[in-house]
Symmetry: C2
Subunit: 192 residues, 2 copies
């Protein structure tokens, strides 16, 4: 039937999120929890000193192997005070970037799911750590002890609704969850 | 004294790391632990849907405010299966990138401090999470439950020494520490 071929599917967008597909995803994962199981991947190659580069190509999600449109290449560097040449943000700064993005996306997706229009979102993150841990000069934690996220949102929605969305973002953001609760880490060494 | 002005300081490099300055840093932080206190920062702005952008400009480290040579701009995106346009690696992939880089840099810096020459380092990371947590369809953790890091190293050093360095990297990497142990997270909402 030629008419069926020509028929286009209407996509309802809210905050740049295809809400019909978001609802379909929620329904599909509810019906088959196996679809939730995901594996993300990165490969990294050392360049020199505090400079190295990751390539992000593929992942497993919603029951299938997935490939990015193009591989992403990302550099880690270290500022001169941390003995590098400032070839990129450093690894602890990358974590703040991922955290900012995840809280923002979770906030915006939940707003879309609830039909709340968002005009702008900005965030400022500060994380504290003690170099003594990395240097091994004192038995303190090498990583962040605490991170503050200031989220500024422009929207006509009531502030109580925005606060509810911020709480959802805090409770459901995958990166916030990764950073705020323990993850099993396994390092395996192989000689080339 | 003209001769003094012309005198250049010899920099001993190992694995691209200025080892004299690494030793000076360790001594300085040992003598004055306050120098270890660091604050890292990111600002982020939502663009559309799952696309947002961070700017990394400055930080506080070793007793002073520091500014990167140029601000770094980093994008977060989401693949089409996660309802985005693949405008960048997604936030949980960014975390793997930071983790890979931090373990690599910690490994290489400790090797340099011990006079161990490293020829190559490559790593492969895989992290597992369940989308049910982010979607709220089941009471499971939204973030990574576990991350595996395969570290491949080319060096003439004995494998036992490389394993010792890998263990140091695992115990002292700031990002590995951030991900593997709980961090206090505070989200504050403000309406624009």
């Amino acid at each position: 039937m030629p008419t069926a071929k020509k028929r286009t599917k209407t996509v309802t967008m809210m905050n740049g999120v295809p809400v019909d597909r978001l609802e379909e995803t929620i329904e599909a994962v509810s019906a088959d929890p196996e679809l939730g199981k995901s594996e993300f991947r990165a490969r990294n190659r050392w360049i020199k000193g505090g400079h190295n580069r990751s390539t992000i190509t593929d992942f497993y999600c919603a029951g299938e192997e997935r490939v990015h449109e193009k591989p992403f290449e990302l550099d880690n560097g270290e500022h001169e005070v941390l003995l590098g040449n400032d070839d990129g943000p450093n690894p602890v700064e990358q974590v703040l970037h991922g955290l900012a993005g995840c809280v923002t996306t979770t906030f915006v997706y939940y707003a879309a799911a609830q039909g709340i229009e968002i005009d702008e979102v900005e965030s400022e993150l500060t994380g504290h750590l003690d170099l003594q841990g990395m240097l091994g000069t004192a038995p303190v934690k090498p990583g962040y002890t605490d991170v503050q996220i200031k989220l500024r949102v422009k929207s006509d929605a009531p502030v109580a609704k925005l606060q509810e969305l911020a709480t959802l973002a805090q409770n459901r953001s995958p990166v916030l969850s990764t950073v705020s609760s323990p993850v099993d880490l396994d390092v395996e060494l192989e000689r080339m």
